[in-house]
Amino acid sequence: MKSIRKILSLLIAICMVLSLAACGGNKPTSQGNDTTTPGTNDTTTPDKPAIDTSKRVDLVFYVMGDPPKDEQAVEDALNKILLERVNATVDFQFSTWTDWAQKYSLELTAGTADLIYVANWNNYGTFANSGAFLPLDDLLPVYAPKLLEVVDEGLYNQCRVNGVLYAVPATWPEYTVSGVKYREDLREKYNLPVPNSIENFEKYLLGIKEHEPNQGLLTVTAAESSGLITAFDAFMIVNFKYPWVNINGLPYGLAANYDTPSEVYDYWYSEDFIEDCKLMKKWADLGFWSKSALSDPNNDTAFINGLCVAEIAGQNPNKHIAAVNDFEKNHPEWKSAYIAYGETNGVIYPAAATQNATAITAQCKNPERALMVLELLLADEEINRLVQCGIEGVHYEITPDGYYKNLSEDFMYENLNTWNLRNNDFKLPQLSDAILNDMFKRYEELGNKTKWPNINVYGNFTEDYSAYAVERGAVSDVMRQYLAPIQAGFVDDVEAAVADFLRRAEDAGLKACRDGFIEQYKAYCEEYGYK
């Protein structure tokens, strides 16, 4: 008995020693230095700008996606400069695309990162609300004054959540306008109209169907539809008709026009909605998409492989460019063209500033140094170039006419996925950017003519649905089950089906969702002065 007790206590002792050793052994890599600095470097008095950088700090920058092959080489080059300038290093850590949403929030909980990529599609607003990021208002002027110059005040304002600044946005205005990507060569060949409205789009498809009956027309599924705005991708074509503040309208069947963002009106209960659903039925009956469209998996290579002649959901100028490049390489006789919904309905705006931004995590031990590093990454030409393009001469070179030219597969353009460090002043153009820049120029002109010139009015709104999460989930289920067949045109009696769907949505708690949403959205419009 005694010997066993001895062994047990010995085991426990060993366990403890081991676990301590594991802690101690690994600490120096990332935290050993961190823990010592807060005491010496007084963060509580930012008004005294004596910045002490005598202690080396190793920072972790958490970004999305997969690492490039030459990550280490670029990091080494970067850290050499950073050590000289601010006595700090940066280690980029990648979320990879596997379970990234879950890992992103785990990362914020664990707090192993210092700098972190944030974006509206990554729930920036929600995380900021729950205190995951450090407020930057007081720190920026002291530790990163240059960032205040480089980034527009207007962009900062878009990153504020409840009046507090949590993130530093990229400074490259980008238009991710939704639209229709179609086959220009087929349109020319059969002399069809440019599909820039619902009617013309129908003519375009009918024309192709007539001449090439075996050609697939649309491969639409329910994949690009968010569960609370639309339920079937083909339905996004109605964006040609409505100058809505947000693509596809607002959630829960609401809508508001871009010119009068605060005047929320009802869409699902309107005659327009029935009419649009009847249009979908007509198209389905014409055979524009497969009878199994609702259960088909999303095929994102359908367009570039010639299985469909247009894509109407989830498109943006960059995807058009990708198709152009692909056609050039694989099918030189094909041509892709792009028409933004906004070119017809008159509502065009750049992506919100929170599309790509950087925040400092709340648990960051050296926020002041993190900010200094961020300032260099974003506002120093040499460092910014290094992070975005790699090592000059090894990974890229600048052509005589000032274009970016890739030299190595191991580090491509923006291969560290630091879209949040795009700086308009330093961003090297690429040859393929020519088309994109033309498009952006056109959009900018159009955007300037709107009531809110080049402002994404809806972009910064984040819905806090915690109070009605249950109802929201139920409404989403009802939409998937009952709205999707209506929008895919697979019901016999549209009006009856819509009435049935609305009744079920009401039972699921549509009213609670709508009330909660409208209240928050109106407050948001009020706050930003969108009337």
Binding site: W97, T98, A110, N120, N318, S432
Partner: protein, 297 residues
């Protein structure tokens, strides 16, 4: 002279044969489609779908993989490393632990067994689990974080305890003790030599677990150099879907080339290959091991 069997036996055989055959087909069919897909031209797959025999025979997919095999070889190497190290250390700790709680003279064996068993019902969940390794033990980015968490499991310990109880009756260890053997001698000289099937079973469980794991790489790897093979493959597929969604949001204009359908299939073949070769050799022990555990557990 053949003995006539009762009709019921015949019916039973027919039915069980039918189910076994269906089961086998259900298991084998997807694999045949994968192999055939890996040998099919990519455009044929896109236009006509998969088939049991390759429609347009092509080696293109394998050429693509082995043109730049560093990544996949690195992943192979890492997975082999995790499997070997993890299985060896895991087998050792599991057996030792099982030995302790299988001894009658250990007064608190039931309490300890209960504690071990308890964790298999009530776990902390993913967040504490992640925090433990990432923040408390600070293992993020280290290869230790990939093989350490899976060294043993309550199920394996209890399985092993049953093995030991069956294979080594108390009387034997007691007599060894009288002859002056300590626990170390008893364990290495008496228990281990008769534990063949048990070690094979638990070892195979561990090895398969390591070989097929992708989750810990996903959670703890900070460099693609330490990725497990399965994660490497899984992530390739995920990257494709994610980049597609991201492209809308974030404007990724310069997307690196994504694997085609046939390349994905070829990668699946390359990843499963070794297990297929390895399995038949250990399977013998595996089956007998499982049944021993089952009957007398």
């Amino acid at each position: 002279m053949l003995r006539r069997e009762p009709a019921s036996t015949l019916v039973f055989r027919l039915i069980s044969g039918f189910f076994a055959l269906t089961g086998a087909i259900v298991c084998v069919f997807p694999f045949i489609v994968i192999i055939s897909g890996s040998f099919t031209d990519n455009m044929t797959i896109l236009h006509k779908g998969y088939s049991i025999l390759p429609r347009d025979f092509s080696l293109e997919a394998y050429k693509t993989i082995f043109k730049a095999p560093q990544d996949i070889l690195q992943a192979y190497l890492m997975t082999t490393y995790y499997t070997v190290v993890g299985t060896a250390i895991g087998l050792f700790t599991t057996t030792l632990c099982a030995y302790v709680i299988s001894r009658n003279e250990f007064k608190y064996r039931n309490n300890v067994s209960f504690l071990i068993y308890f964790t298999s019902i009530f776990g902390g969940g993913i967040i504490p689990w992640y925090l433990m390794y990432a923040s408390v033990l600070n293992l993020k980015g280290s290869t230790l974080a990939i093989w350490f968490p899976a060294l043993t499991s309550p199920f394996l310990i209890i399985l092993m305890r049953t093995f030991i109880k069956d294979a080594v009756p108390d009387a034997i260890t007691e007599s060894a003790k009288i002859d002056g053997a300590g626990h170390v001698t008893i364990f290495f000289k008496i228990v281990l030599p008769v534990l063949g099937p048990g070690l094979a079973t638990v070892g195979l469980f561990l090895a398969l677990g390591y070989w097929n794991d992708w989750y810990r790489s996903s959670m703890f790897s900070t460099s693609s150099k330490t990725w497990e093979l399965q994660f490497y493959l899984y992530n390739l597929l995920n990257a494709q879907t994610a980049i597609k969604q991201m492209a809308q949001n974030s404007g990724l204009s310069h997307i690196t080339e994504l694997p085609t359908e046939s390349v994905k299939m070829a990668m699946a073949v390359v990843a499963t290959g070794p297990v297929l070769l390895f399995y038949p050799f250990v399977q013998r022990y595996f089956v007998s091991g499982i049944t021993i555990g089952a009957v007398k557990g």
